[in-house]
């Protein structure tokens, strides 16, 4: 029982990080039909911005802010202007190829210009353990959970309780109508790219102390984010959150109780099962096809 609780909490912490990344993924899809195959690398990269800033002498908190700012500028603004915008008129496929190439570019750049070795990354809280019902739970897992929950609650409030958020939702649901209603659609799309950049930067700060900062980190994270998005329903922010948490917990439990050799396989099997039985995802709606 004690080990079950331990696995559950660490699974929840991993799942919360997956959820952050998956939410960004679905937001981009909703507002601009962008399938970002480089989403995993987007999570990998900010950790290296922060490490570079710390190497230049900045204390961790300053470096983290610099990292988030760089993420907003590069992974938000520059990504939209230089990669997505020129491609949208060609349709979805060229953009998919281009983001695949981008993921390769980011990965190789970090490997060549920073390091191919895993880099230690400072934790948010000093690593101690707390006892709970006989289980030993690391404060790090709790800190990750807390930050992720706060981030998602704030995002929820922004999207549902403010005028800006409702304008963004309108843009996602029907851009033409939103334009007629006087919503600056272009700016709303830019905001979703910035929100995605902020989410991946936060995820990067949370995940890097656990896995260490390494150029290959994006591979598993990107896959997990997509699986989470599919499980939950591609067109639902709520779905991505539930999908992410579910995936993190199932991944941890199956690795412990079933087979650690095939750890990577369980999320994929869940993905295939969901696509077979409920292609619109657990919470998703069917998207209508047009001729």
């Amino acid at each position: 029982m004690a080990s079950f609780i331990q696995l559950l909490v660490s699974g929840l912490a991993t799942g919360a990080i997956y959820a952050l990344v998956a939410v960004g993924f679905t937001l981009l899809w909703q507002t601009s039909q962008t399938i970002n195959f480089a989403q995993g690398e987007f999570v990998m990269l900010p950790a290296f911005f922060i490490l570079a800033a710390m190497n230049a002498g900045a204390p961790f908190w300053v470096a983290a802010l610099i990292g988030i700012a760089l993420a907003l500028a590069i992974l938000g603004l520059l990504f939209k202007v230089a990669v997505v915008d020129p491609m949208l008129r060609h349709g979805v496929l060229p953009l998919v190829i281009s983001t695949i190439a981008l993921s390769l570019l980011l990965k190789e750049s970090v490997k060549d210009f920073y390091s191919s070795q895993a880099q230690p990354f400072p934790a948010l809280v000093p690593p101690t353990d707390v006892q709970f019902l006989g289980a030993v739970i690391s404060t790090q897992s709790l800190a990750v959970l807390a930050v992720a929950v706060i981030t998602i609650v704030m995002l929820h409030l922004l999207l549902n309780k403010t005028r800006l958020g409702r304008a963004m939702q309108a843009t996602a649901q029907n851009p033409t109508l939103a334009l007629i209603l006087g919503i600056p659609v272009g700016r709303m799309v830019l905001y979703t790219f910035l929100i995605n950049a902020a989410l991946v930067a936060i995820a990067s700060i949370l995940v890097s102390p656990i896995y260490l900062a390494k150029f290959t980190n994006g591979e598993t994270l990107g896959m997990a984010a997509f699986i989470a998005a599919i499980i939950g329903g591609f067109n639902q922010v709520r779905g991505a959150i539930i999908g992410g948490v579910l995936l993190g917990v199932l991944d941890n439990l199956s690795a412990a109780y079933l087979s650690s050799q095939y750890r990577g396989a369980f999320p994929l099997l869940i993905l295939i099962a969901v696509i077979l039985l409920r292609p619109q995802g657990l919470l998703g709606r069917f998207e209508e096809r047009t001729v």
Partner: protein, 325 residues
């Protein structure tokens, strides 16, 4: 087909036959790799260029084919049998994978096939009793037919190139048949194809299974070409590479994969001066290409040729009116 492109094909074929006589063994290895990978890319082009579905599983099919041939020939079965078995197995696996996977389209399919590739990699790595795990399989023999051994680099190249010619002729014939034209209809307008009475799902599945089979046959040549295979060769990297070959060459063009595979095989050698930055340069080039010319190199050539002939016609018209020089 226009006379110009027919002449270009004949010239390219003549070049492909003559070139190994002027190359060192490593150069011959590279062009053999080109011939082998072109087969896989051609199969992916069926799925992507004609049926319009993004598949990231082609590298896994190459792996399944390569492992089948390596294991069967080492167990003493003749190469021809192993070759057919590799193709048949991949056709069957493609069909079984496609059946559920093709319920979903585009990006969903991309990720389902990505999941499949990762699963195949895990099986190849973990099932040591069969695949020898991370240590891979060594000393894969090259076949000989009726006393003609393909052990030398030159003869193996001709064997690979001959197989490529036969398989591409078969694919060409298939795409010309009424049956193959249905593939194009699928890409251009699936709903219209459906309303014309085509069983679109069956045709998409067929395109996917045949594409997978070509992947397996490519793997069947890959194993004796490199003579050492390990699971890492068939991970996601290879599937990405094959996808990029099709796109860079020009997806939906019959000869797109031929050009794309050539670029993918030769570019790393040409970019050797950039040392470790080869992949960065390659990825950057692909992104630029997608932004300005998503139809690939052949699409670009087509566009330039059209512009040139239009300019030529305009010049002729002008001089006929007696205004021009």
């Amino acid at each position: 087909m226009s006379r110009v492109s027919a002449a270009a094909i004949v010239a390219a074929a003549a070049f492909a036959i003559a070139v190994p006589f002027f190359l060192k063994p490593f150069g011959i290895f590279l062009i053999s790799m080109w011939a082998v990978l072109t087969i896989a890319a051609m199969g992916l082009n069926l799925t992507l260029g004609y049926a319009g579905q993004v598949s990231l599983a082609q590298g896994a099919f190459v792996g399944v084919g390569a492992y089948s041939v390596a294991l069967l020939t080492q167990a003493g079965y003749p190469f021809a049998l192993a070759f057919v078995a590799a193709g048949g197995l991949c056709f069957a696996v493609g069909w079984i994978l496609g059946y559920p996977a093709l319920r979903v389209q585009h990006h969903y399919l991309a990720f389902v096939t990505l999941a499949f590739t990762t699963l195949v990699f895990l099986v190849l790595r973990n099932e040591q009793w069969l695949t020898n795990g991370i240590y891979g399989i060594n000393d894969i023999p090259r076949p000989s037919f009726f006393g003609w051994s393909t052990r030398g680099p030159q003869s193996f190249y001709f064997f690979s190139f001959g197989t490529l010619v036969v398989l591409s002729a078969g694919t060409w014939w298939m795409l010309r048949s009424p049956w193959g034209r249905a593939f194009v209809a699928l890409r251009e307008n699936p709903i219209r194809a459906l309303s014309l009475g085509l069983d679109t799902r069956r045709y998409t599945l067929m395109a996917f299974a045949i594409g997978s089979m070509l992947g397996g046959l490519s793997g069947a040549l890959y194993a004796p070409l490199v003579q050492f295979i390990e699971p890492g060769s068939f991970a996601l990297g290879m599937s990405f590479n094959l996808l990029l070959m099709v796109i860079v060459g020009g997806s939906g063009y019959f000869f797109g994969p031929f050009v794309g595979a050539l670029v993918a095989v030769l570019l790393p050698e040409w970019l050797r001066i950039t040392q470790g930055y080869y992949l960065i340069v390659y990825a950057g080039l692909v992104m630029v290409m997608m932004a300005f010319c998503p139809s690939g190199i052949l699409g670009l050539i087509g566009r330039v040729a059209k512009a040139v002939s239009r300019a030529g016609r305009a010049a002729r018209a002008v001089s006929a009116e007696g205004i021009g020089p």
